[in-house]
Amino acid sequence: MMKKLFGKKGREDSLAKRLLIHLVLIMACVIAVYPFLRVITISLRPGAQLLSTSLALIPANATLENYRTLIFDKDFTIWLWNSLVVSITTVIVAVLLSASAAYAFSRWTFPGKKQGLLFLLTTQMLPPGMLLLPIYVMVVRMQLFNTYTGMILAHSVGAVPFSIWLLKGYYDTIPKELEEAALVDGAGAIEAFLKVIIPLSTPALGVCGLFSFMSSWSEFMMARVMLQKSNLFTWPLGFQKLLDQFTSQWGVFSAASVLVAVPAMLLFMYSSKWLVSGLTLGGVKE
């Protein structure tokens, strides 16, 4: 058995072994996917069958009724718009601030550099809620409670250090010779950064933006504290509100989940390989 699991690589396994592996993987896939399939199923259930103990994947009399209710009778579109405003602005703030800072961390040595990087990493460890209280008090005092601005400030707390760390990793992979060539041609350091590094790292900046976007887009705890007015709710708050009345809104909640989760999942699948390499890049190089 052990040999089956851990044995050689690059050679064909016997037929029985391959069948066993496929079987195990198929089972794992079912466990991974089934809960989401259930969400789709429930989103298609007509109102009368919402509360049923049926395990059928395609419900009898499947209907899009829940989607109609969600879009026209609920604040769904408002929630999406609010989330969009907050997360896109957060991304712009984070990328603008971190693009040049990460460059400094990647290309220069200066006193406090190592400590600075370590500090940025440590901020990602802070218990959630730790900075929320002081930031909440600050936001209330600045009369930014129940505004997009307060939310964007709160989301930038995590997004800026994360973006700096990620982008530094990418800049490190761009050979220094490229800017040196530009410097030899008489360009200044700033010019070299803007004309050589920025164009080369557009994909990296895009990916960095994408991750900041995704974490701000699905953020729940801060939104819950910063936004009390229901017409400012971002979608995670709206979804939680939908579920307050479980029995009547389960189908509508599921429809909402499908509409938000499918694009998010596609975006994630598309970008996850960069996240993995970004996480390791930052760590390996000093």
């Binding site: 052990m2 993987l25 609010n82 460059y103 218990p127 800026v160 729940f220 998010a264």
Partner: protein, 341 residues
């Protein structure tokens, strides 16, 4: 009619535009100031990288360092719902706040020590299952196999779904009567379980959900690690007649360590800090039976309005998290050295 009105769209755009405009002005002013002070006047050697970093530095100072200090100040204050504006600061308040963490239930029922223990169990169980499950799947996926890409994609789905949606959907599925978990148990001939009303089962439920959520991350990271191990090692071991287990122990594990250790550190920190899963599924209930440190912190501050206490409590939690990570690093490194020797 779609509820989103034109007015709301405009309001959003105006507010976003205002923030970005303010940011742009702020950056320009800051850079001009830095240019004349650091570069022209003080002629600092590092003026260029300093200028590149300055906007981010100011943002980090305003959004992280200042709030962190402010939090410490609040820990030494008597701030509460009734004293939100006119609170006072003093050493005695601070001592009270920190003592309160240990001497009375943090919320209403459960004491700090119990919460700490539960957090340790929560973190340990989750991370162990994440690593074992992720490693197992990664090893399978690392073999020559048809349809590998499809398996990989499907297996990443729990990681790809926004956590809020996954947690809320699971919450429904643990419903006693209509959730699929009990429906399946019934079909298999078991008695249905009171998932959300019995504190013990509720804790099992949130752990199940978090294991489900966390395995794909480990799988992807560890698969990356496995793929970077050259097959020649295995060929050589094969010739020497090493068994599968021996190969795993003396080739795979040591070579996987550089990936495994940072991944488990991340896993420990993320799990320790996981607020969404528990709060969205059980709200820490029933009877605070599923609260861990971070959910009780949130509730102490934003549901019980104990601001001064909460600030002290969050400091204690941070210290514990740092100790926890440090011990974890020591143990994993120590294990590696023992194996290498």
């Amino acid at each position: 009619m779609i509820p989103l009105t034109w007015d709301m769209v405009v309001q959003g755009l105006v507010e976003a535009g205002r923030i970005l405009g303010l940011l742009a002005v702020g950056v320009v002013v800051l850079e001009l100031f830095a240019y004349f002070v650091f570069h022209r006047w003080l002629k600092l050697k590092h003026s260029l990288p300093l200028m590149l970093m300055l906007p981010a530095l100011v943002a980090v100072a305003a959004l992280i360092i200042y709030p962190f200090g402010f939090n410490l100040k609040l820990a030494f204050s008597n701030m509460s719902m009734y004293r939100f504006k006119n609170f006072s600061v003093g050493l005695s308040y601070g001592i009270e706040n920190f003592l309160d963490v240990f001497r009375a239930p943090v919320l209403q029922n459960v004491t700090f020590l119990k919460l700490l223990l539960r957090t340790v169990v929560w973190t340990a169980v989750n991370v162990v299952f994440h690593v074992l499950g992720g490693l197992f799947l990664a090893i399978l996926l690392n073999r020559p196999l048809k349809g590998k890409a499809i398996y990989r994609t499907l297996l990443t789905i729990p990681w790809a779904i926004p956590q809020v949606i996954a947690a809320l959907a699971w919450k429904n599925e643990f419903h006693y009567q209509y959730g699929f978990v009990n429906a399946m148990l019934k079909q298999l001939g078991f008695a249905p379980v009171q998932w959300l009303s019995d504190p013990r089962w509720a804790f099992v439920a949130v752990i199940i959900v978090n294991i489900w959520l966390g395995i794909p991350f480990m799988m992807v990271i560890l698969l990356g690690g496995l793929q970077s191990i050259s097959p020649e090692y295995y060929d050589a071991a094969q010739i020497d007649g090493a068994s599968g287990w021996q190969q795993f122990r003396s080739i795979t594990m040591p070579l996987l360590k550089p990936v495994l250790i940072p991944a488990t550190v991340l896993g420990v920190v993320w799990t320790f800090n996981n607020f969404n899963v528990i709060y969205l599924i059980t709200r820490g209930g029933p009877m605070e039976g599923t609260d861990i440190l971070v959910t009780s912190l949130y509730k102490a501050v934003f549901e019980f309005y104990r601001y001064g206490f909460g600030a002290a409590y969050s400091t204690v939690i941070l210290i514990i998290l740092l100790l926890f990570t440090w011990v974890h690093l020591r143990i994993t490194r120590g294990m590696g050295e023992a194996e290498g020797a």
